[in-house]
């Protein structure tokens, strides 16, 4: 009886999971249908698969160009992000210096500024860059939004723009990775051995210092969660 319930429970969960991803699955299925089948009457759920849509993409759109743009944007954004955030993260984790807390608070508070707030000025900056450095397509300014422009031609502005957009998060991770280095060891999960983890006593101090001001971030909260959990255990048991 119990076994049957468990099997049914599993079935229900997997059915739910299937429904959950259905919109994407449906889109994927649709991509293999030709136009006639998509709007046929009565509608067909499954029809003869065809690659005609994919050929259309390659033939009729500038797919290679779009792909190149995406590639350029993501590669350069990733590189810039990694380099500067590793550097910054290293400095904050490793060194003691004046205004350290202020700098780190400053950088973290920048995370809160949403894209919408800086969107307009950045657009203006980008459009001026365009005037200055070529890409003299008036269309770009007149008819396209900054977002369209980002995916349209010029890799220059958008690269920085996207780098910037992802950069704070990755910065976070740069430091996070170092903090993670000790928090993920099994011993620390319950806050039992906090000290023994860093590679040296000095490192440990640095980590602790940088932590104190980051209480509002996921990693920290998880850690707090762990501590809470453990304290609770001690009280309970």
């Amino acid at each position: 009886m119990r076994k049957l319930i468990i099997v049914l429970l599993n079935l229900a969960v997997y059915l739910f999971a299937l429904l959950y991803v259905l919109p994407i699955v449906w889109t994927i299925f649709s991509s293999f249908k030709d136009e006639a089948d998509l709007f046929s009457w009565p509608p067909k759920l499954i029809s003869q698969p065809t690659l005609v849509n994919y050929l259309q993409v390659v033939r009729k759109t500038q797919f290679a160009l779009f792909f190149r743009n995406s590639f350029l944007v993501s590669v350069s954004a990733t590189l810039i992000t990694i380099i500067i955030s590793v550097m910054g993260g290293y400095a904050l984790a490793k060194y003691q210096f004046r205004f350290k807390n202020q700098v780190s608070t400053f950088i973290l508070s920048m995370l809160m500024i949403p894209l919408q707030v800086i969107m307009v000025p950045i657009y203006l900056v980008m459009s001026r860059c365009q005037d200055r450095w070529g890409e003299r397509d008036q269309d770009l300014l007149q008819n396209h939004s900054a977002f369209d422009a980002a995916f349209d031609r010029s890799p220059r502005g958008p690269v920085f723009h996207l780098a910037l957009e992802r950069f704070p998060l990755a910065f976070d991770r740069g430091r996070f990775a170092q903090a993670l280095h000790d928090t993920t060891r099994p011993g620390t999960l319950c806050g039992r051995t906090h000290r023994s983890v860093g590679s040296s006593a000095g490192d440990d101090r640095a980590f602790d210092d940088t932590r104190s001001d980051r209480l509002h971030r996921p990693s920290e909260v998880f850690r707090q969660g762990h501590h809470h959990g453990c304290d609770q255990v001690r009280e309970d048991v």
């Binding site: 709007f39 000025p121 509002h216």
Partner: protein, 287 residues
């Protein structure tokens, strides 16, 4: 002293890029908010608080957009909270096989690009060719105008947003659940209460820090959500799904009133800062 020197050297690229791409635009945004800068003249004069006064004068739909944004947030936050908690509990349960696979599946929507999500759902809920309406037709019922009816479109947007973020918050809850030692579960099991009571009385209180974080993050996310709605409904039908970020975008890049748009973004900024401060305050009290 030399060490200090190196620290600043390492931080320099960081600070430079931040200054150029975040600080300066953010500050100039405040300045533009006080001008009537527009994109056709590419110039503007100082008008003081006229933009803000206009926005709250009640002679335009800004008030309604603001209200709608709050409503959207008020719906997304609780639904996303319970959905992700539910998913986390399901994918952490001992009774379920293939937990890792399920987690990956539920996390999938978070990894997709907003434009893919928008297009997929638009297609899924399409009046003529969407899967749901096709199935309804097959069963002899009439199709539902998901994206054509104002109220349904709004609900659809909420649904899609929840669908998008639930996996992300699920992972947060998952790690919080994993962090609870098995002893707690065992001790709870000895208590004899049923699973439902045990969860809410014993496990859920232990998730409190994560729960608060999820609530605040989802509030901030929903207040600034833009991309998915932009692709999914483009704010329509009419302005039924136009939220604040959308309004800023339209004002800036379609109406080309950069000054007005900046004034709106300053308002958004104020809202988000308030939320973030509340978040920090709560988390401080927690520790």
């Amino acid at each position: 002293l030399k060490r200090q020197y190196y620290a600043w050297l390492f931080l320099l690229p960081n600070l430079i890029i931040f200054t150029i791409f975040v600080v300066t635009p953010a500050l100039s945004s405040f300045y533009y908010a006080l001008t009537d800068y527009d994109m056709i003249r590419l110039s503007g004069k100082f008008v003081g608080l006229a933009n803000l006064r206009y926005l709250f004068s009640g002679t335009n739909d800004f008030g309604r957009v603001l209200l709608r944004t709050f409503m959207y947030s008020a719906m997304v936050v609780p639904i996303a909270f319970f959905t992700s908690l539910f998913l986390a509990v399901v994918t952490s349960s001992d009774l379920i096989k293939g937990k890792a696979f399920l987690r990956a599946l539920f996390y999938w929507p978070w990894l997709l690009s907003p434009s893919i999500i928008g297009v997929s759902w638009k297609w899924f809920l399409d009046y003529d060719a969407g899967l749901i309406n096709i199935l309804l037709l097959k069963n002899g019922s009439s199709p539902i105008p998901w994206l054509l009816d104002r109220r349904l479109a709004f609900l659809s947007v909420v649904l899609v947003t929840v669908w998008n973020v639930a996996g992300y918050f699920m992972v947060m809850f998952n790690s919080a659940l994993t962090a609870i030692p098995t002893e707690v579960y065992e001790a709870a099991a000895l208590d004899g209460a049923n699973r439902w009571v045990r969860f809410w009385k014993i496990i859920f209180p232990l998730l409190k820090p994560t729960a608060i974080l999820v609530l605040v993050l989802s509030t901030i996310m929903s207040m600034r959500s833009f991309e998915i709605i932009y692709v999914f409904t483009a704010g329509g039908p009419g302005t039924a799904t136009t939220v604040l970020a959308q309004k800023i975008y339209y004002t800036a890049f379609l109406e080309r009133k950069l000054g007005m748009a900046s004034a709106m973004s300053v308002i958004l900024f104020a809202i988000l800062i308030t939320l973030s401060l509340v978040q920090m305050k709560i988390l401080e009290e927690e520790t």
